[in-house]
């Protein structure tokens, strides 16, 4: 049996408080979300309704809802209203490096790491789309050069893409290869079954390990636009290095929408 919830007291703001009124209104709305009274997908009371309840101006009410938007708790839909959202989308993909980078996927099953991510949501390989593909040779940026253990400015092959799962953009990626590895299908738009990792191994570089580094930050305007990010959604800056013994064979960088992936790692304790 669940205890009946005590009725929520009439909303009050304390104009004498040090806490600005818009923050007090945001607190009240946030409480409703955290207590579960408002669930993801639910609409917040309208501006007019909130103005009436709190006896405040539209500007103050808007500041309250944009405070929640900047925290990633609500989304404003023009002309419709403000809706509660999940901090991480319900249909977020699960990125599990210990599985997605496993050799049997790319070598025996012809599945790329991105395809394994898609499977976590029950999506098929056809859900994994790429666009804005750019294949070129560029001077290696500093952080890439350091990781590929070459002089900064050395020419490397770059595969630049936007990855989508269905319609939703999820990552902006750059894969950098040393020039001696940038041959055959590795220079083409489609790298074939098993993707880049399968092709690198065929060149005689069996992959031995990967190192990935993750940071979080707010997106720049280009990323916000290209990833169609809502307010209050940070991005993950990822660098994933692939090694064949001591030789770094690929430097993969990605800017990943923070609300579209959960990152999972399994660590053995034995």
């Amino acid at each position: 049996m669940t205890a009946a919830r005590a009725p929520r007291p009439e909303p009050m703001v304390d104009p004498a408080s040090d806490r600005p009124v818009y923050k007090q209104i945001a607190d009240w709305l946030r409480d409703m979300i955290e207590s579960g009274e408002l669930r993801p997908g639910d609409k917040l009371p309208s501006e007019t309704e909130l103005m009436r309840r709190f006896g405040n101006t539209r500007t103050t009410i808007r500041r309250a809802s944009s405070t929640l938007a900047a925290e990633g708790r609500v989304r404003a839909e023009r002309g419709v209203g403000v809706f509660v959202k999940e901090v991480v989308r319900d249909d977020a993909l699960v990125r599990q490096p210990y599985d997605r980078l496993a050799r049997h996927h790319y070598r025996d099953e012809g599945r790329s790491a991105m395809y394994i991510d898609a499977l976590s949501q029950g999506l098929g390989s056809d859900a994994v789309r790429q666009d804005r593909v750019q294949l070129d040779e560029v001077p290696a940026p500093e952080r890439v050069a350091a990781r590929l253990e070459i002089e900064p400015g050395t020419t490397v092959f770059r595969r630049r893409r936007r990855i989508r799962m269905g319609e939703l953009p999820t990552q902006l990626t750059n894969a950098y290869l040393p020039l001696d590895l940038a041959v055959g299908q590795l220079r083409e738009e489609r790298t074939g079954d098993g993707g880049t990792h399968a092709r690198i191994e065929e060149l005689g570089y069996p992959l031995t390990h990967f190192v990935e580094n993750l940071r979080v930050r707010m997106p720049d305007p280009y990323e916000t636009h290209a990833l169609r990010l809502e307010a209050g959604v940070p991005v993950v800056d990822l660098i994933q290095m692939a090694y064949s013994d001591k030789k770094p064979v690929e430097c993969f960088t990605a800017v990943i929408a923070g609300d579209r992936y959960v990152f999972k790692y399994r660590v053995d304790a034995s």
Partner: protein, 268 residues
């Protein structure tokens, strides 16, 4: 005249976004450096002809992106570049280090010291609490069932700095009540730490499942970690297992501008 490209009134891009674009250009081109003051609202009004509200929104955008910070009464300054980050690496080594080299300080302090940070970890609370849904489902107990919580606050500062320590991580461990006995409940868990105490009760740790979520902080997280606007957090959830049995659920919220995670994944 600092801003040389005028605001394009006929553009679809709102004027405040164009103001932000100009300010970003100033930073990216190096014309204003980390620690420098950005043009004030009044400067922007004079130079670009926008209203104060538009100038303010433009500056606010850079603050929200974490590229600038407001110092009340002084102005808006370019953020001090990339702060030094603590790299959290090798969980497999770190988490089981107590077996080889049991120490009373745990493995985190030496790792931080090696990277040039002074490290402090203080117990904030030791309590029996009702499990929330996230902790309950991971510990396989009912939501609302009582679990033991150890809440800690980790603080960092660059080694040798005379600045105060900065709060960096809110670290909470939730432990099923039947395991929360003896020194598991004590402020100081003793040599080898919490995991050594759990193993002494016959629960040999077999693996950990770790999950990272990247998001904006809740207001209480911003205030406890003293985060500026535009600084996201990393939420780390790690469950320690002894075979099938979850014996601890660790939940941490880390200041996004102070941390980086690193994992090594072996092929196969």
């Amino acid at each position: 005249m600092v801003i040389d490209t005028p605001i394009d009134r006929s553009s679809d891009r709102p004027a405040y976004k164009q103001v932000a674009d100009r300010l970003r250009d100033l930073i990216d081109s190096g014309r204003v450096q980390p620690g420098d003051r950005l043009p004030s609202e009044s400067d922007l009004m004079t130079e670009t002809g926008v209203s104060r509200a538009t100038a303010r929104r433009g500056l606010r955008m850079l603050i929200n992106e974490g590229r600038a910070e407001s110092r009340p009464g002084e102005g808006v300054y370019v953020s001090d570049g990339e702060p030094k980050r603590l790299v959290v690496r090798d969980p497999a080594m770190t988490l089981t280090a107590f077996r080889e080299e049991p120490s009373s300080s745990g493995p985190n302090a030496p790792a931080a010291n090696e990277q040039g940070f002074d490290y402090r970890c203080d117990v904030v609370a030791l309590d029996d609490v009702p499990a929330g849904s996230a902790v309950g489902s991971r510990l396989k107990v009912e939501e609302g069932a009582i679990v033991f919580a150890r809440r800690r606050l980790v603080r960092l500062r660059p080694t040798g700095s005379d600045r105060p320590f900065r709060p960096a991580k809110l670290a909470d461990s939730y432990i099923p009540v039947d395991i929360a006995r003896g020194r598991v409940r004590a402020e100081h868990t003793g040599t080898g730490g919490l995991y050594a105490r759990i193993e002494e009760q016959g629960h040999t740790l077999t693996h950990f499942d770790e999950e990272l979520v990247f998001r904006m902080p809740r207001p209480y997280e911003s205030s406890r970690l003293r985060l500026g606007p535009g600084v996201p957090v990393i939420q780390q959830t790690r469950v320690a297992y002894a075979g099938e049995r979850p014996v601890e659920c660790f939940r941490a919220v880390l200041a996004g501008d102070l941390h980086e995670f690193e994992y090594r994944i072996n092929a196969e």
